[in-house]
Structure formats: structure tokens, C-alpha cells
Symmetry: C2
């Protein structure tokens, strides 16, 4: 049996010392949860294979309040897996012990630090345990009281209750104090109890510094098998050191050397020889999934298909090859066509309702448990989860996003439903893949390529039907492009993607009648980008015109400009520059000057300018 | 007294006819709320000056479920302010009656259509009434049950309760059916009642098709003076037309012509001669605010100041000139330094806690009531509210955003806290202003320029102290830049902003020792951008190097490339390309190759290349 009092004291000692050494960090936020976490990890509840953090049977521990990283690292030190010397590298360049937990530290489940995200990630892991891997591991999420103000928390609450995730436990560290003062509710634990209960969770209210109460709570949780549970713990920020305990003004502030001496004196003798013991989990195997061969893409004889429809069909087609894929949708599966997957694989489709932030958080949790989540909603509404998407890159996520209803070409529904910044958003992510196919064949092939690729990938789909452009055996690769029209006499290269590829082809036909030739490039992979083809086009034609159903900033035009930055060529960007509105798709493409008409006009300007300068 | 039954029937008629004529739209979502809205507008509760939508005393009506736009437009038609002919232009190009409400229609308070945003906007308007304008108008928000899954709703709930906004009324249209099937709770109204109550609101549960109950509810609300109230109404989607009523598969689907005939037969005779009467509000004046002269900027004798600190000081300095400014912060006012404003103008500072989505929504509500909201948090966490920010552009918002702690230069806190995509995010918005000052003087001047400017403006501030570069009387304008170093022998122009301006100046000093000269441009206005100065620099030096503490996509490099697209010049972009981590600011600037060292290296490469080609 572990000596929990001594371990808690050791953990407090580590948390204080490492943050003072770093000269920054959050010792007081660590001290408030020290007893809770000591009780969890070393009180017999937590099962973990310390030598194999990736063991699929391990219980999972997520610090949603990532700023309590001194505590997080100290726990693993108390378990004997991190030395005191390593702790002293906290927050230093190249240390795995970063300011907020990241995967650089091998016991980190997910990068946290943007508040209100850990519960969704945990819910994703719990969903995986219950419905996909069918394993008995449990997921524990440490939450701050301040971060309960984030709406994303309540999304996670409602979805976890909906899916009856009794294998998910939240531990709310109600230390009363936020960064700049008291929270909305201070130590009124009843407010939290009522809300948690109203959202369908079990609630256990305890004194978060009373170890017997803490241990009893973890026991009691095991009896609740029909819903997730929240332990709501009354704690004191800075607990254990009188002059910082429950005091405002001590958020994110380490003790000065002299203050540390005083604090350690108060703590009294520390036993550094003890090691917290954690039992290993049972050795079970996740539900086995066997990969199978695929039927080939087949759009023979089909005239027009919306790429969003092709996305749904592709999910179904590729599913035998990727048995670990799961599909999540935010209550629009009949618009994104992810419902086609649901019809075939109901058990691997999860309805996430209109709560995009939690959808992305849960997808991250699933991804970190080795699933391949495909996440879909309207492109516009993925902006709702930008912070979760941004954070997922720091967890090395393997998530596939699909944004449907891209651009003004959706027509009548109007601006609120038009994704016009999604390419920019996904392009910002380090090493992301951003795809925007123009027809059903390329969509299908690229969905398969996304699944093969390890990392964050985004595919943008179009609402209305578009003609099939490619043969079933055409090859599409991430980072590629297609030259659809080419001629030695090309006066410019039109770089288009998605809906505007069809506009470019229309422009080509019209211009050809006047003996004006243009190169047409289908830039279906916006990132990575096929710089070689673009450079060749620049060299051959002397002018590049990008055409996109997207705002200017961060879109296709700027992506192409970045690719050609080293090789100067005149670049013209046709994109959405006027306030969009309702109307027919073609009216709106004309209005925004991204239609065949606008392309023709620009090409003629260029051709005329050349003639002019030649004269 | 209005004949409410007849009016409700007329409104149903309009909703059906206009959506059938449009060939798209959401008649069933309109029919479920038709009785509720008829009762509200024409039952004696709603006060409105129909000839002056901008009358500050008007009650405000927001359709958070913006897809019920047929109902919204029909209400004003029933009030005699829109003709049936105008209704038939619904969703057509250039009609003010767009697919989802926008300000193109003069009775629209705020553009909606991205769900879960209306309650925050309404809370902002109610906050304005209670604490700023001190007017008795009330704000009504129609909510769908599906959209209650959005976390942003619960942020609005908690903040509205916190500020005791008893002048805010939510009307929840629980029609059970979402887009692709039933909601999480169907017609279980108790779930909503418990949650609403737990979040500190009053709750009144009614039958949403029973006019006496509806009218009684609006009366009862008036008795509740210490908290906001939610009317939770059980309704049927498609109510009034038997073959679509409470039926799945009818979301966002207009009736076909033949179906419409059947539906109208069911509705029976419509009296088109009636007009719904709405009483005018009292004629009160908002609390008067008198603009006063400012003291000038003064950083004389100051060595280094963080631009985030200068932001806070600037808010205080400019406040006499802009008495309608209000300041909102997401629980980090001691980091963004908006607390400096709070100390002086407590009554115009609103703590929004860690709930960024609602903060932006409430800011929009305040802005639409003629306030100038300054909204601050860490740049990284503004990504949390991207959808709200995106939507605010469609409401012609006048909001000033400040994102502090930009870039890897924040140092030890690590990636989760680093704003590295904020410039891209704000640049996507149509007509947005994006500013990134490098010292305290320019920050202060630019904060004033933001307040003067009508529209969405963003300012990015830096965590650490930076030296003062400018004299107190230097002029900074939106769309401007400063040439800090210039010489006929310049081999390249360094285009920097914020923290990297100081790196560029360091590089200048080092290179000068070797008789290599560079132009240094402080591009403090990223959007609009000073294209003339950039073009001149390109012409004079033959090479542009952009340096930024931001990811590549949509950042300064791409903004500069867009500005120079017509005038080809070699462009080199130094930006954050590697996974950021914890460390000292200078270590991280070096690691990401955006420091003086990296600039020097790149300049020498260019200089060497030129010599090489000259040989």
C-alpha cells in the first residue's frame, strides 16, 4: 500500500522546486490538485503499464488544465519514471517537459493548454473503449473550475452522457481562483453539482484535500455504470503553503528562491526514497479488425455527381481497407453524405449533433487511440472548432476533415453557410494536407489517399453536381495536380480547384474559338502543392491566373504565390472579394468574378497587354 | 386587439408560399415557431417603431435559428412592412430577403444562420440596455432545440445569468427534429428545463401552439426581474399542414407546387387584409456620453514596454474621446492589460470569463447597439471564436479585437499559448483591418486609429518588452508602413512587423559592419497593406525578405506576395515552419529561423547569388 500522504508531499515538493527553477509555470494550480491526483494514481484505482504508455489497456489520464503541468510531471516522477534532475529541465529548450504537456513527454496523452478541450478528448478515448476497441480501460480528465465556463465543456458533457460513457471520469478541481481573480461561482459547489447532474452525469462532491474522501469517491464511481461521473472537489489553490494558499495574485507565478525555502520549511521533511506504485492493467486485446481489399472506383456512365456525394461513397468504398476508420458528423450527415457510411457501418458512425468543438476533440481522442476519424460538417462550421483543430496538430493528430458546401457556389442559402476561409484555416497547420477535388473520381481517390496518409488532412467538397472529368484509373496523389489543357501557344495558365476547374474549362472552350489558348491546371492538392508543375506553367506561359471560390487571404492564390515566390511571374488572383449573398450558384460565380466570364476577361487583358508591349 | 389566429394563419401562408416560390428554404422550421412569434409580436408584448428600426428604444428580435427566415420575413409582412410580392423575391439574387437573415433586410438585427450564436448577440444587446444605455428595451431571441447542443449557447446562458439580464428572453422552439433526424432529447422538455434552471435562468414550459399559454408566458416573464428567462415551448415542425407536421425528412425542404395547393387547402381561407399592430416604445434617450479631448501619447524617457501593456494604456488614453467604447476580456485582463481600462472605467469593462465564443457574440450585440467593443484575449484563443468572428462580418460589425501573446516569442509557455494563425484568420475577413505594431508608441496610435475606423479591426500584441522606436509625434495610419533604414546600396528589403522589426534592426547593424545594406520596413498595417512602399522597395532592392512570428499560410509573407503579385520580384519568407516548443524567446526565434541571425544568413545568400551571377 502506498503512503499517499508522503507521496503527495513529495509531489508538492517537486511541483514547487521545478517551477522555481524554471522561473515560470503554475505551482499553485498544481498544489490544488495534488491530493486528488495522488489519490487517483497511487490509491489503487489507476491501472497503467509504466513501461509501455501505448499499451491499449492503460487507463488514460488527461490534464485538461494543462497549466498544472508541474503536477503532471511530478506524478510520473513520484512513480519513478522521471528523475528530479529531469524535472529541473522543465520549460527549457528541448526538454520534453514543456510549459504545457505535449507528446514530447511520453506519458502525455494529448497536448493541452488551451482550456476546455481535455474532456472532449477524454470522451473520444472513452467512446473508443466502449464502442470500438471494447476494452475495460477508463479515462480520467482533470478539469479546472475556470475552464468550466467554456461551452466546449458542456458539449463534451452532453455527448458523453448521450453515449453513456460510464468509463469516463471527470475530476473538477474547484480551487475558486482563476487567472485574474475569482471564478463566477467561487466555492459554490452546488452550482456545479446541479449543472453536471442536469447534463446527465453522476456527481460526487468531496473535499479535495481529504485523502479518505478522495479514495472513497473513486470507489463509489465504480458503482455508477450507466453514465459518466464528475467528482467535484473543493480545493485550495496553493494548498500546503500558507502564504500562497487560497490567495489571489498567485496564478502562473513560481516562488522566488527565498519564498521556496520558506515553503519547503513548511512542507517539512520529504522522503525522496519512496516510489508510488501503480498496478498494471489486464492484458486484453482490442476487438480485431481485418483489412480487406477494395473494389475499384467506378463512375463509368455517370454524368454529374456532387463531390460531397462522392465523399460519402468513398467512405463506404475504402472502409474494408481501413477497418479502424470511424466517421463523425455534426448533424448534417444527409448534406455531407457521411450518412452513406452510417448506412453500411452503423457501429462505426457516431452522431455528434451540432457541437463541432466537441466533435473535433472526440475525434482527437479516437485518433490518439489509433483510429482514423473522418469528421464532416459544412466547411463554414469547421471554423467553430479552429482552436481544437489548431491544438490537434500539437498532439500529432491523425484526423481527416471534410468540409462540404464550400464557397459561394452553394447559392441560395447565403453567406452564413458558405465556407470561404476553410482553405486558409487548414493551410495554417504545420504539415497539413489540404485537398479540393473537382469531380467524383478525384474525390474518391483522394479520400483513400487521406486515409493512407498519417496526419491531419482536409478535403473540401462542393454542394452541386459537377461533371466527371477523369477516367476511373486516373491516379491522384497528395501533392499532385493535373494539367487538363496545354498548348505551346498558351498565353496564361489558369490554376483552379474544385468548382472553378469547370469554369476554367468553359473559358478554355470559349477562348479557343478566338484562337486564344490557355493552360488549365486542376490544383486538387492545395497543400502540399505541386510547385514543379506551377513553375513550368509560369515559365511556359508567362502568367498565372488563380481562380478560387474562397476569400483571398490564405487561399489558392496565396498558396500558389508562395510556391512561386522564388521564381517571379505575374500572378493574378480571382477570388471572392465582395460581400457574398443569396442567389443562384452561377449568378454568384459571376458576381464574385470567379466564373468562366471573369477568366476570359482576365486572359484577354493579359493577351492584349502583351500585344501592346510587343508593338 | 389583434386577431392572432388569423395573423398566425397568414404568416403560415406566407412562409409556405415564399419558400415554394424560391424552390428552397425552411418552411417546416418556420411553422413550428409561427404561433410563438405571432404571440410575441402581435400579442401586445413587443414594442417597436416600425418606421425606425434603429430607434434605440425598440425591443430587439433575433432569430438565432436563422433558417426560419420565411417566418422572420413573414412577420414583418404581417406587420404591413413587406409586400407579398417582396416575399416572393426570397432567396433571389439581390433580394434583401436572403436565405438566412442579413442586414440587407432592414428589420434584421444581426446576421444569423450559423447556429448557436443568436443568444450571445442578444445578451450583448441586453447588457447594453441594462448597463450602458440604461434603456428599458427588451431583447428576444428565438432558439431552435437542435442548436442548444452548441456550447456557445451555454456560455451565453451563464454570462447572461451572471449579469442578471432579466431584460433578455429566450424562446426555445422545441420541435423535436433536427436536420437529419431527432435531437438528443426529442420532446423531453424536462431536460431543457433542468439545464436552463441549473444555469441560473427562469424557465417557463408551455405548449408552443396554444396562443393563450403563449400570451400568459410573456406576461409571467415580466414578473421575473432578477434573471433572464427561457420560454421552453413544445412545438411541432411543420405545424398546421398534416402531411409535413412532426415528420422527419422535411428539414430545409419547400413544398412542391402540388403539395402547396394541398397545404393551402388545409389552412383554409386566409385574410390578407389584416395587419398586425405593434405598439411603439417609450421615447427615452440613452445615457448621454460626451466626447472629450485626449492627452497626447507620451513614452518619453521610457526604454522598453511590451506592446500588450501599451494596448492597455492606450485604451485608457483614448477613452475620453470615445465615450461609447466598452472593453471585454476573457479572464486574462492582467495579461492583455485591458485591466488598465477596468481600473479607470469599471462600469464599461465587462469580464467575460473563459468563454471566447460568447465574448465575441456579446461584442457583436454591443456593436450593433452603437458601442465600440474592444475584445481581448491571447491571440491563440481568439481562434476559439472564429465562427463568431466570421459571422460578425456579415452583420457589418464594428468590433476591435486584440490578441496578445503572439508567436513563439512568448517563450516558455509553449505551443498551446502561441498565436501563430491569428493574422491569417483576421486577414480572411472582407474589409478587415489587421495591425501588428512593434513598439509602444505605434501601438498607442494604432489603437486610436482602430477606434476611429468603422469596421472589424485586429491588433496583435507581443508579450515581452520591446524598445521604443518612434517619437511621440510620429504618425501611424491604417494602411501605412515605416521605412526604418534605407540606403541606395540596399541589397534587399526586410519586411517585418511586431517582434521581428527588432530582429531586422539587429540584422541591419550586423550587416552594416560588413558594408552590406538592407532596407528595413515596419509593416505595422498588414491589411490594408502599403503596396506602394513595398513595390518601391522591390524596385529599389530587387529582393524582398518577409520575417514573421507566424505560420506561413495567410501571414505577412503571403500578404506581401499578394500585394506584389502584379510586379514580380524574388520573395523569401522567413516564418514559423517547425513545430514550436518551450524555451527562451530568443532561442525560439533562432530555432524557427526568424531572428536577426536568420535574416543575416538569408541576406548574405542573396548578396552572394548576385555576385555569382554578376561574374
Amino acid at each position: 500500500m502506498n503512503n499517499l500522504e508522503s507521496l503527495a508531499k513529495l509531489i508538492r515538493y517537486y511541483s514547487l522546486v521545478m517551477s522555481t527553477e524554471a522561473g515560470s509555470g503554475h505551482p499553485t494550480s498544481s498544489l490544488s490538485a495534488a491530493d486528488l491526483m495522488t489519490g487517483l494514481l497511487f490509491g489503487g484505482t489507476f491501472k497503467y503499464d509504466l513501461d509501455n504508455p501505448q499499451n491499449p489497456n492503460n487507463d488514460r489520464l488527461i490534464f485538461s488544465k494543462g497549466h498544472a503541468s508541474p503536477l503532471f510531471y511530478s506524478l510520473w516522477a513520484a512513480a519513478g519514471k522521471v528523475t528530479e534532475k529531469e524535472l529541473l529541465s522543465f520549460r527549457k529548450f528541448n526538454s520534453p517537459l514543456e510549459g504545457h504537456p505535449t507528446p514530447a513527454f511520453r506519458y502525455t496523452e494529448a497536448a493541452t493548454g488551451s482550456l476546455g478541450q481535455g474532456l472532449s478528448i477524454g470522451a473520444g478515448m472513452a467512446l473508443n473503449a466502449k464502442y470500438v476497441d471494447k476494452l475495460p480501460y477508463r479515462t480520467y480528465v482533470l478539469l479546472g473550475d475556470s475552464e468550466m465556463a467554456e461551452g466546449s465543456q458542456w458539449e463534451a458533457m452532453e455527448l458523453a452522457a448521450h453515449y453513456k460513457l460510464s468509463n469516463l471520469l471527470g475530476i473538477m478541481d474547484v480551487n475558486r481562483l482563476g487567472q485574474r481573480g475569482e471564478t463566477m461561482y467561487g466555492h459554490d459547489l452546488d452550482v456545479y453539482r446541479e449543472r453536471v447532474t442536469a447534463f446527465g452525469w453522476g456527481a460526487i462532491v468531496i473535499d479535495g484535500h481529504h485523502l479518505p474522501q478522495i479514495l472513497a469517491a473513486f470507489e463509489k464511481v465504480k458503482e455508477i455504470t450507466d453514465r459518466p461521473v464528475m467528482i467535484i472537489a473543493k480545493t485550495l489553490k496553493g494548498k500546503g503553503v500558507s502564504f500562497i494558499e487560497d490567495k489571489n495574485g498567485w496564478h502562473g507565478k513560481p516562488l522566488k528562491k527565498e519564498e521556496l525555502s520558506r515553503a519547503l520549511e513548511e512542507l517539512g521533511p520529504i522522503d525522496k526514497t519512496i516510489t508510488g506504485q501503480i498496478s498494471k492493467p489486464e492484458n486484453r486485446k482490442p476487438t480485431e479488425q481485418i483489412a480487406q481489399k477494395l473494389r475499384p472506383v467506378s463512375y463509368t456512365g455517370v454524368k454529374g455527381v456532387a463531390t460531397r456525394h462522392a465523399y460519402g461513397s468513398a467512405l463506404v468504398r475504402i472502409s474494408p481497407r481501413f477497418p479502424n476508420m470511424v466517421v463523425l458528423d455534426a448533424e448534417v450527415s444527409n448534406s455531407t453524405f457521411s450518412e452513406l457510411f452510417k448506412e453500411v457501418h452503423h457501429e462505426r458512425f457516431f452522431e455528434m449533433y451540432i457541437a463541432e468543438q466537441n466533435m473535433v476533440g472526440m475525434a482527437l481522442g479516437l485518433s490518439l487511440r489509433n483510429k482514423i476519424p473522418f469528421v464532416s460538417t459544412f466547411a463554414a462550421f469547421l471554423s467553430r472548432a479552429f482552436d481544437q483543430i489548431r491544438m490537434s496538430q500539437y498532439s500529432n493528430a491523425n484526423i481527416k476533415f471534410c468540409g462540404s458546401h464550400a464557397g459561394v457556389s452553394i447559392g441560395e442559402d447565403g453567406s452564413s453557410q458558405m465556407g470561404l476561409e476553410d482553405l486558409a484555416m487548414f493551410r495554417t497547420l504545420l504539415d497539413s494536407v489540404v485537398l479540393y477535388p473537382s469531380d467524383a473520381v478525384s474525390t474518391d481517390k483522394l479520400v483513400e489517399a487521406m486515409a493512407e496518409h498519417k496526419g491531419i488532412a482536409y478535403i473540401r467538397t462542393t454542394r452541386k453536381d459537377t461533371p466527371i472529368l477523369y477516367r476511373n484509373d486516373e491516379v491522384f496523389r497528395i501533392g499532385g495536380s493535373k494539367i487538363l489543357r496545354s498548348n505551346p501557344k498558351d498565353v496564361a495558365a489558369i490554376v483552379a480547384a474544385g468548382i472553378t476547374v469547370h469554369e476554367a474549362l468553359k473559358a478554355y472552350e470559349e477562348l479557343k474559338k478566338e484562337n486564344i489558348f490557355i493552360r488549365v491546371i486542376d490544383l486538387y492538392s492545395i497543400k502540399p502543392i505541386d510547385a514543379a508543375t506551377l513553375k513550368q506553367a509560369a515559365k511556359d506561359t508567362g502568367a498565372i491566373i488563380t481562380v478560387e471560390d474562397h476569400f483571398e487571404a490564405g487561399g489558392i492564390g496565396e498558396a500558389v504565390q508562395s510556391a512561386l515566390a522564388g521564381q517571379p511571374v505575374p500572378l493574378y488572383s480571382l477570388c471572392v472579394r465582395k460581400m457574398p449573398k443569396s442567389g443562384k450558384p452561377d449568378e454568384l460565380l459571376d458576381f464574385e468574378e470567379i466564373s468562366a466570364k471573369a477568366i476570359i476577361k482576365k486572359v484577354k487583358e493579359i493577351a492584349k497587354g502583351r500585344k501592346g508591349s510587343a508593338r
